[in-house]
């Protein structure tokens, strides 16, 4: 029911054992060189260069490749060569499972086909975002997955509204927020009214009667919903080659007049019009 990693899918389905997957991961760890290791293997840098770059990373929020280019250790062209070599020699988990004897090629092909069918509900659809947005494909995927999980997890029918650029977050009955870090940074928020909060709780608690539930439980339902959405966004990003991490979700409390965004932030609001006229709002607050 979620965005999955192929190896995870195989273990979950009982197609391969835990021992086999651990052996295959070990083989991947041995064969799939990290960027620095590949650059050393290609004779473009020394181990000391990489060590210095790692030290630099402790005080500079940069990816290793960007840092190596920024400090003149690698040219843009050399970095592209290293990345291309990494891709060309990458051992995928399915191939690793064949190499350790857990699957044969025919079984692998059959399981990949079944995996594609399992994951088909999460194939991306287009979402309109403002032009020129950094990491646009990733944020588009985050919005698209939100829509899909509103349907699949909450069971709500809705019409997505047009994306609006905003300079502040509106006050709402509950605003749940979660921060993304890693290859892309941004804050993901969902704002709901009391009736929509109740609908979310009804879906997650699998009951029509939630009026007696304490506020903490009602709020926790929306927090868990965004945790599930953002975890699945990180999983999908991982399939697409981007590393995202997430923090536990929290509630934020904008004042009645709204919470202005900082000068270095840009805000996007995606209204989600529920079929009975209620509104749920998804916000992305991204660095400019």
């Amino acid at each position: 029911m979620a965005v999955k990693f192929f190896g995870q899918y195989l273990v979950e389905k009982g197609v391969v054992s835990r021992e086999a997957i651990v052996e295959a991961i070990a083989l991947q760890d041995k064969q799939n060189l990290k960027l620095g290791e590949m650059a050393i293997a290609m004779g473009l840098v020394t181990p000391a260069d990489i060590e210095r770059a790692h030290q630099n990373q402790l005080s500079r929020d940069m990816k290793l490749g960007d840092l190596l280019v920024g400090t003149g250790i690698l040219s843009e062209g050399q970095l592209a060569e290293v990345v291309a070599r990494q891709k060309a020699t990458h051992l995928y988990i399915g191939e690793a499972l064949v190499q350790v004897g857990a699957l044969d090629n025919e079984q692998l092909a059959r399981q990949l086909e079944a995996f594609k069918i399992d994951q088909a509900p999460y194939l991306g659809e287009s979402v309109q975002l403002p032009p020129g947005l950094a990491n646009s494909a990733l944020w588009e995927m985050a919005v698209d997955l939100t829509y899909k999980l509103v349907t699949r997890v909450l069971g709500l029918r809705f019409r997505p509204g047009t994306c609006q650029v905003v300079t502040q977050l509106s006050a709402a009955h509950q605003v749940a927020a979660l921060d993304f870090a890693g290859d892309a940074k941004g804050r993901y928020l969902v704002a709901v009214s009391a009736p929509v909060q109740k609908k979310v709780a009804q879906a997650l608690l699998h009951t029509a009667v939630v009026d007696h539930e304490p506020l903490e439980v009602l709020e926790d339902c929306l927090l868990e919903f965004i945790n599930v959405v953002c975890g699945n966004v990180a999983a999908k990003a991982s399939q697409q080659g981007s590393a995202l991490s997430i923090n536990p979700p929290v509630n934020i409390h904008p004042p009645a007049t709204g919470l202005p965004l900082a000068a270095q932030e840009q805000g996007l609001c995606f209204p989600i019009h529920l079929e009975d006229g209620d509104l749920m709002e998804l916000y992305l607050v991204l660095p400019k």
């Binding site: 029911m1 979620a2 965005v3 999955k4 990693f5 190896g7 995870q8 273990v11 979950e12 009982g14 835990r18 997957i21 651990v22 991961i25 070990a26 991947q28 988990i93 999980l149 699949r152 997890v153 997650l204 608690l205 699998h206 903490e216 439980v217 926790d220 339902c221 927090l223 868990e224 945790n227 599930v228 959405v229 953002c230 975890g231 699945n232 990180a234 999983a235 999908k236 991982s238 399939q239 590393a243 995202l244 997430i246 923090n247 536990p248």
Partner: protein, 120 residues
């Protein structure tokens, strides 16, 4: 005799869902739930569960850190990670290398949890 399961999740809702699924299964019983990794390590020592169902992304001590400690201290207990981050290859790989028996992704249905527990 039903196997004893400890639930570890900071979400009250998920803890409740898991308690219901486990409690209603007939072959497992939920002996309680705690809300972060540090509490999980303590509860594992005190209550001696057969199985731990544990989230990854929790405030305080996260699930992978707790998994490392639990497996180092207790060779018998079986840990199933139940997490929204299960589909992230790095997280999955790390959990399996540290000793998790399975990783179940959120959102889950009862069948996902019971299949994982019954496969142990």
């Amino acid at each position: 005799m039903p196997k004893k399961v400890l639930v570890v999740d900071d979400s009250l809702v998920v803890a409740r869902q898991l308690e219901q699924i486990i409690g209603g299964s007939g072959d497992f019983c939920c002996i309680g739930s705690v809300r972060n990794g540090a509490e999980a390590i303590k509860a594992n020592m005190q209550d001696n569960p057969d199985i731990i169902c544990m989230d990854m992304n929790m405030p305080g001590m996260d699930g992978l850190t707790a998994l490392r400690s639990i497996v180092a201290l207790d060779k018998e207990v079986k840990v199933v990670m139940v997490t929204s981050l299960g589909g992230v290859s790095d997280n999955f790989n790390e959990a399996m290398k540290l000793g998790a028996r399975c990783v179940v992704s959120k959102p889950f249905v009862a069948e996902d949890i019971l299949r994982a527990l019954r496969a142990l």
